[in-house]
């Protein structure tokens, strides 16, 4: 699945225009706790989360995120969006809940990341 397809499925909004939406997303992980997210050391993964602080972007320095989807209509502050843009890390916001997003993407064939 590409990020462009994912954005359409989640009726999402891309938070900075230069994001590379043709990027392939091989797998995903969903959590609102940072240490849980840090279990994803095996492969680059898409993250679905309700966390919007700058440490979520910092996580992408550690575990190679292919993108972040902010759920439940959450929107990070401008400085956090800029941190993502500096890293070329696509970030998307959607009104859907974490559970709904996970269900939609799983049904569309996006597998869970290895932990």
């Amino acid at each position: 699945m590409t990020l462009r397809e994912l954005v359409a499925l989640l009726e999402g909004e891309v938070l900075f225009p230069e994001a590379d939406l043709d990027r392939e997303v091989p797998c995903a992980f969903a959590s609102d706790m940072i240490s849980d997210i840090l279990m994803c050391t095996k492969e680059p993964t898409l993250l679905l989360t309700g966390l919007t602080n700058n440490q979520v972007i910092r996580l992408s320095d550690m575990i190679d995120l292919t993108g972040i989807v902010f759920v439940r209509g959450k929107r990070p502050l401008q400085d956090v969006i800029e941190m993502a843009a500096e890293r070329g890390l696509p970030i998307i916001t959607t009104k859907f809940t974490l559970y709904r997003c996970s269900g939609i993407l799983f049904n569309a064939g996006l597998r869970s990341c290895k932990i």
Binding site: M39, Q55, M62, I63
Partner: protein, 163 residues
């Protein structure tokens, strides 16, 4: 002082050899980790990861090093009065030490139990406090060592081999 040691299976000899004669490191990096500063916490770990990436360390090993380092760095910011992170890069491994200014860990065995957390409200709001910090360091390390006691400083250090 209470002490905790973990050495991953199969790494006993390599760790003992290094501890007996650790020689000169190739690159040393030092960062300060201020108390409750969640804006900068994690920067040291990012920079260490960038350096190792340039040195050509395997990407999965890189992620393990970065996660162990980040968890330890966040621990210092979240739980201590501040501290320092010191990374020593050798040709086949990295040794990272975190030393803080207290207040120490009352019960290290308890702190190692997944899910046990003493994180405050501020840290929890930011998504920390899962109680997986020290367990995540152990999971990603080839050797881990903690020295602490209540009312004292804490040393957390770990070693990860590149292959």
């Amino acid at each position: 002082m209470a002490e905790y040691w973990y050495i991953a299976e199969g790494f006993e000899n390599r760790v003992q050899e290094y501890l007996a004669d650790n020689g000169d490191s190739e690159v040393d990096m030092m960062f300060t980790v201020p108390e409750k500063d969640f804006n900068t916490a994690g920067k040291g770990s990012s920079e260490v990861k960038n350096l190792l990436k340039r040195l050509g360390v395997d990407s999965e090993v890189l992620r393990r090093i970065a996660v162990a380092s980040y968890e330890a760095e966040i621990n210092v910011a979240a739980h201590s009065h501040g501290g320092v992170m010191h990374s020593a890069v050798y040709d086949d491994h990295i040794h990272i030490r975190f030393e803080d200014e207290g207040p120490g860990i009352a019960d290290i065995e308890q702190a190692m139990i997944p899910g046990f957390s003493t994180a405050d409200e501020l840290a929890r709001e930011l998504g920390f406090g899962a109680g997986l910090g020290l367990p995540n360091i152990k999971k990603n390390s080839d050797a881990m060592h903690i020295v602490s006691e209540k009312g004292s400083s804490t040393l957390v250090e770990f070693i990860i081999f590149f292959s």
